[in-house]
Point group: C2
Chain length 383, copies 2
Amino acid sequence: MKIAAPPWIPQSVQTRAVALEVLLHGPISRIDIARRLNLSPGSLTRLSTPLIESGLLVEINSEGRSDWKTGRPSKPLDVVAASRHFIGMKVTGEDVTAVVTDLRANVVAQSYRKLTSQVPDMVVVQIAELARELAERVDEITALGIGIGGLVNDKSEVLSAPFLGWQDVPLGSMVEGMTGIPTVVKNDVIAFTEAEHWFGAASGLSRFAVITLGIGVGFGLVIHNQIVMDADYGLGLVGHWPIDPFGPLCPSGHKGCARMVLTQGAIVQAVENAINRNVNYEEILQMARSDEPVARRVIDDAGRGLGKLIAAVANLTSPELIILGGEGVGLVEVAAASIQEGIKEQRDPKAKKINFVTTSGDNMEWCRGAAVLAIQEYVLGRP
Amino acid sequence: MKIAAPPWIPQSVQTRAVALEVLLHGPISRIDIARRLNLSPGSLTRLSTPLIESGLLVEINSEGRSDWKTGRPSKPLDVVAASRHFIGMKVTGEDVTAVVTDLRANVVAQSYRKLTSQVPDMVVVQIAELARELAERVDEITALGIGIGGLVNDKSEVLSAPFLGWQDVPLGSMVEGMTGIPTVVKNDVIAFTEAEHWFGAASGLSRFAVITLGIGVGFGLVIHNQIVMDADYGLGLVGHWPIDPFGPLCPSGHKGCARMVLTQGAIVQAVENAINRNVNYEEILQMARSDEPVARRVIDDAGRGLGKLIAAVANLTSPELIILGGEGVGLVEVAAASIQEGIKEQRDPKAKKINFVTTSGDNMEWCRGAAVLAIQEYVLGRP
DNA sequence: CGACATATTTCTACAGTGGAAATAAGTATC
DNA sequence: GATACTTATTTCCACTGTAGAAATATGTCG
């Protein structure tokens, strides 16, 4: 397992800016970079040359330039995505899922480990084993990112992780100590949001929101190109969002809050209570599709609630896009009509239409998000 | 009436940054500016000298430096606030209120005019008269800002202003043409928000929210030091915020939305309906204070609703501060307890306490806000 | 093939920066 | 009151990174 990697070209602020521009905005010509960064063409030659020589960037053939014909064709620059590799891990109360990605967060390997214990020291051992296993599959690993549901401080210390019963666990430094790989730990929803921002549906947007459905309800917000976060981030405040004044009571004494209406657990519970037998989430979605009345009703209630939440987010933060993700995102397709109903209830008809998209709902998305944490740490350096 | 004013020192980006730092963060020593802007002390001498020579900045005596004793005392720099004057106007369906302020948005004169017509051409004539009248009271006017309730495009064109029945009125250029004063027009809540950001309770904060109560319910949001705004801004989307599922029906068919619960008109209406006589808003607040049951109930319902709205804003946007303003802000003191109740209903007890403050509720605040639009336009120049 | 259009490179003058050292202006100590 | 000390500000200089002009590269079009 090789860990060291060529350092990101930290030379000047502008060199970094150029490299970042190429990383985020794909193959792009020098002249376009110059325009985006307000630099002269001459400066761009100066800045890009050492990046190409170092092997981080390459010139590629422009090929199909449909809109332009005349003039010297540009030689777009692109990052050599495979020149660095990163590990991303998602830690839950039961298991650790992990992927290896390249610089553009493309997944090149993955693995999984069931937790045998929730004691921090034991978990760290399993994380380290998993990291070692994955590191064998590529030349070298540059950095490791871990996403975890809970309150995380300063990219390393887990202040509280309810699913693991953790309190004040310096996970980042523990893993770093055991693996030797530079490690960054952050909240899982933040990781997911950053991944969408850099390499996902929100690429290029400066203002968007993320709502994740799964075990809990997560919320991420990017405004003016930066994630919005404070010390409370990770408590899952949006899980308390009141959706149905007559809904089930949550442990905090709230009636019908988001986590009691939108989560997979809540939906399964509601249906099971009514039909008196065990079903799983996917089955419920299927039942709703074929208009089985109980499932249909529960799904529609959730859809309407989600619509109201979407509208609330849109009304307060005006995102260009809302991304719906998480394992429970299957709801969105089945409840499409009731989501629109919910939106309509809370949104001025004169306001512009709310754009939203769903992600695949694949569990690996969380790992990819964690890998993006590592990529960002590597690329942006100490802020 | 003199209009021309010494131009803001637009020389270099950094010179502007220094001037802005002094404008916003009051008397401040060169060394502190250097630290804030990440510049060397030497650079600060270079940058500040021409600003002092031009008369925009002055050295003042440091006087009481309570925390430090030894070393050469600093000579803090301050802007000569009285060196420029600005007009700020708030236009409603019935009247125009206006103030003259200095560079720090301190009010030095004010005036008022009842609108004799709502026809754009006539309104512009009255605005121009008012501007001329105010301009006589100071040496010269640098710029004019107008705040208006509605959708405004590009600092000048009013796309729609329901209270005036306007549609696509190029108010900015009309006023500029008639007065010769550089004019900027924006939404009134944005103006209010910017004023709080630059010179009000949110000075120095990078993330805060504003909720205004009055004829309508307004919402302003600043995140990462920039106002959050899109093309819909000015529609008053937060006025549709659902507060009471059993509340009065609004013209858009929403039940108990914010404007039907929180506005002065809604509160007066609710009380009058119950007691069968005419009362005004201030009387109702007084009645509630002495626990008159109808007023108490209406005020408490509004308070609880406002609390829920405050909590929603806090849950989604994590502001460092929420500022409550507008003519109807008297509600906040009288309904303090029920506001806390409303917050409690929607906020995780583990989340940190929400900070909020109220402004005076003086109508002049809107004008001051409009003046800040003019100040910003002058200081920041074309962006 | 020559005219044209656009991208990229080369070259140069120069503005703006950090950093060291000097200077200024106070307090603390004896 | 002299001296040491502390911090703010200024002076000065070497140097980096920039824009901008001009040259060059490389394609399309007629």
